[in-house]
C-alpha cells in the first residue's frame, strides 16, 4: 500500500482536502470520546471495588457486589473452545486453497468463505437456539446436564462463526510467502505436501498465529449469537479450570451480560452502571490487546517474507 503515486504538492486551499480532514477528525474525535466515556462512567465501580472488580467471584447487584471473574472466565472459555474447533479446519482449508487450488476454484472458495462470514450473527443465534442446543443436549445427556444452553454450545456456534475469519487471514498469510521459495523446494524434489509444511506453513507461521488471535478477538466480542445459547447464568465459576463439567453448564460472558436486560436496569444508578461499563472496558482491553498482538505478528511476518 506504500506504492501509491505521489501527487504534485501545492498549498492553496482545496475544498476536498479540507472536507477530508474535517470528516476524518470528526470520526476520530467521536470514537475517542466514546472510549473516554466508557472509562469515565465506569469510575464508580473502580472506586467501590478496586481490583476486586476483576478478581471477585460474585455478582449480586442488589447487594452492591460486583465481581467480573465468572464472566471473564465465560468469555475466554467460549472463545478458546471456538478456536480449538475452528483453527485446524480453517487453516487446513486455507492450505488447500493456496497450495492445491488455482484460478476460478480459488475465487469460488473465497466467495464461499465471504458468504459464510456474511451470515448475520442473529441468524447463527437462531440456528443455535433451534438446532445446536438440542443436539448438545441430546449428545451430552449422559453427563446429566440441565439444558442445552451451555458454554460448549456457545463455543461450537462461535467456531462456525469465526471459521471464515481465520480462513481469510490464514489465506492472506500463506499467499504472502514468496512463490519462488515454493518453486525452489519443489525443484529440489519435495512433494507438494512437504513444500506446504516446510515452506508455506513455516513462512506463514506468525501470520497464522495472528489469524487465530484476531479471530479470538472477534469471538470475545460476539454478542447476539452467544447471548441466545449460553444460558446467561451468573456466578458460574468452576473450582477447577480443567474439568469438563463446567463447559456443559450454563454460563455468562462479558457480552451476554452487557446485552441483557440488566443494562436497562442499571442506567441511572451510578455504581451499577459503572460496573456494567467496567465489563465493557474489560472486553475492550481484551479485544484490543488481541488486535494489537495480531497486527504486530502480521507486521513481523510481512518483514520476514520481504527479506
Amino acid at each position: 500500500m506504500g506504492k501509491a503515486a505521489k501527487l504534485p504538492k501545492h498549498n492553496r486551499f482545496c475544498a476536498i482536502k479540507a472536507a477530508s480532514w474535517f470528516f476524518t477528525s470528526l470520526a476520530f474525535v467521536a470514537v475517542t470520546a466514546g472510549l473516554i466515556l466508557l472509562l469515565v462512567e465506569s469510575i464508580p465501580v473502580w472506586r467501590h471495588s478496586g481490583l476486586e472488580f476483576i478478581t471477585g467471584r460474585n455478582w449480586f447487584y442488589r447487594a452492591r457486589e460486583f465481581g467480573a471473574l465468572p464472566m471473564i472466565y465465560g468469555s475466554l472459555q467460549v472463545a478458546v473452545i471456538a478456536i480449538l474447533i475452528a483453527a485446524p479446519i480453517a487453516v487446513g482449508a486455507a492450505i488447500f486453497g493456496t497450495e492445491f487450488l488455482s484460478g476460478r476454484l480459488r475465487i469460488g472458495l473465497k466467495i464461499v468463505i465471504e458468504l459464510l462470514a456474511g451470515i448475520p450473527s442473529v441468524i447463527y443465534g437462531l440456528l443455535g437456539i433451534l438446532l445446536l442446543r438440542n443436539w448438545v443436549y441430546d449428545s451430552m445427556e449422559s453427563l446429566d446436564i440441565l439444558s442445552g444452553d451451555t458454554l460448549l454450545t456457545a463455543g461450537i456456534l462461535l467456531a462456525v462463526m469465526i471459521l471464515p475469519t481465520i480462513m481469510t487471514l490464514a489465506d492472506d498469510a500463506l499467499q504472502s510467502v514468496p512463490r519462488a521459495q515454493r518453486m525452489a523446494a519443489r525443484s529440489l524434489g519435495l512433494t507438494a505436501t512437504e513444500t506446504a509444511i516446510n515452506i508455506s506453513l513455516r513462512g506463514a507461521f506468525p501470520g497464522l498465529i495472528a489469524a487465530v488471535l484476531l479471530a479470538m478477538g472477534r469471538a470475545l466480542g460476539e454478542t447476539i449469537a452467544v447471548f441466545l445459547v449460553v444460558g446467561r447464568q451468573d456466578n458460574q465459576l468452576p473450582e477447577s479450570l480443567f474439568s469438563f463439567q463446567p463447559l456443559v453448564e450454563s454460563g455468562q460472558t462479558l457480552t451476554s451480560k452487557l446485552g441483557g436486560s440488566e443494562t436497562n436496569i442499571a442506567y441511572g444508578e451510578p455504581l451499577h452502571w459503572g460496573a456494567m461499563l467496567g465489563l465493557g472496558i474489560l472486553l475492550m482491553i481484551m479485544v484490543t490487546a488481541l488486535t494489537f498482538a495480531g497486527l504486530g505478528l502480521q507486521n513481523l511476518a510481512r518483514r520476514k517474507n520481504e527479506t
Binding site: R12, A15, I89, V112, T223
Partner: protein
C-alpha cells in the same frame, strides 16, 4: 512410497476441511430456505406485524432496516471517502498513513455491543432522543467505517501510477487530479466497500437493540426524538427467544430467509470486484 502416501493423506485432509466449510454454508442456507420459504409470500412482505409475530408480516421491519441502512450510508460514505483520500493522497508520511490503518483495525475490532452501550449513554440519555432511528444509523455508520475505508484505500492504492503521472504531466494541480482521476477511478471501490459494509450493518443487532429499534408498534418515523423503527434482525432476535408455537416458528424462519437474501444480495454484487482487487494486490 511413504512420502507419496503422506502427500495423498495431507491433500485429502486439507480437502476435507474445504468440503466441510462448503458443506456448512450449504447446510445453513438449505435449512433456512427449507424452513422459511413456505411462509414467504407477498402478504408476508407487505403486511404489518400482528399478534406478536404469530400473524401478519414484516413490512415495517423491512422499512425500518431500510431507513437504518440509508442513514448508515449517509454517515459512512463521506467519512470513509475522507479517510481514504487522506490515506492515499494527502498524507505523505508513511508513518502517518500506517497510523490511520492501525486505528481502522482497532475500530474494526470493537465489539458491536460496545457501540450500543456508548450509544445508549450518548443518544438515548444525554441527547434525550430515547430510541431513535438516527442513533442506530450513526452507530452502524461508525461500525462499518473500517470495512468501507479499507476497501477504498486498497482501490486507490491500485490506481495505475501512469494515470496520475499523465495527469500531472498535463499540468493538473493536486485538487484537479483528485477530482478528475482519483475520484472517478475509485468510485467502484466506494460502491464495493459500501455494499459490503451495509450487508454487515443490515444484520447487526447489538448496536441497535438499546438505541434504535423496538419489536412492535413503530411505523415510519416523523422526527428524531422517541422515534424508533422496527428492524429485521431485532425481530428475529426477539422471536428466537420466546416462541415455540409453530405459527411463529414458520414466520420466524421466513424473516430469517428474507434477511439472509438481503445480505447475500448485497455481498454477491460486491464480492467478485473485491476479490479481484485483493488477488491482484497479492500478486502485483
Amino acid at each position: 512410497m511413504k512420502r507419496k502416501f503422506f502427500d495423498l493423506l495431507f491433500r485429502t485432509a486439507t480437502c476435507l476441511c474445504v468440503v466441510f466449510s462448503c458443506a456448512v454454508l450449504l447446510a445453513i442456507i438449505g435449512f433456512i430456505v427449507k424452513q422459511g420459504s413456505s411462509a414467504v409470500s407477498r402478504a408476508f412482505l407487505t403486511g404489518e406485524i400482528t399478534g406478536a409475530g404469530a400473524s401478519g408480516g414484516i413490512f415495517y421491519n423491512l422499512v425500518g432496516t431500510g431507513i437504518l441502512l440509508a442513514t448508515t450510508f449517509l454517515v459512512s460514505a463521506p467519512t470513509a471517502l475522507s479517510i481514504a483520500l487522506l490515506h492515499g493522497v494527502y498524507l505523505r508520511n508513511y508513518r502517518h498513513r500506517e497510523k490511520i490503518t492501525i486505528l481502522l483495525y482497532i475500530l474494526n475490532g470493537i465489539p458491536g455491543i460496545l457501540f450500543g452501550i456508548v450509544g445508549l449513554v450518548v443518544f438515548v440519555q444525554w441527547f434525550g432522543w430515547g430510541k431513535s432511528w438516527l442513533a442506530g444509523g450513526i452507530l452502524l455508520g461508525f461500525m462499518i467505517l473500517p470495512t468501507v475505508s479499507v476497501t477504498l484505500i486498497e482501490r486507490i492504492a491500485s490506481i495505475p501510477r501512469k494515470y496520475i503521472e499523465a495527469a500531472a504531466g498535463l499540468g493538473l494541480r493536486q485538487s484537479e487530479i483528485v477530482r478528475s482521476v482519483i475520484l472517478p477511478q475509485s468510485a467502484g471501490g466506494l460502491a464495493t466497500g459500501l455494499l459490503l459494509g451495509l450487508a454487515r450493518a443490515a444484520g447487526e443487532t447489538a448496536p441497535i437493540m438499546f438505541t434504535a429499534t423496538i419489536f412492535a408498534g413503530a411505523t415510519i418515523p416523523n422526527g428524531i426524538r422517541e422515534n424508533p423503527v422496527l428492524s429485521l434482525p431485532y425481530h428475529i432476535f426477539i422471536l428466537a427467544q420466546d416462541s415455540y408455537s409453530p405459527e411463529v416458528n414458520s414466520r420466524l424462519w421466513a424473516a430469517a430467509l428474507v434477511l439472509v437474501i438481503l445480505v447475500f444480495a448485497m455481498s454477491i454484487v460486491a464480492l467478485p470486484a473485491r476479490l479481484k482487487i485483493h488477488e491482484e494486490a497479492d500478486h502485483g
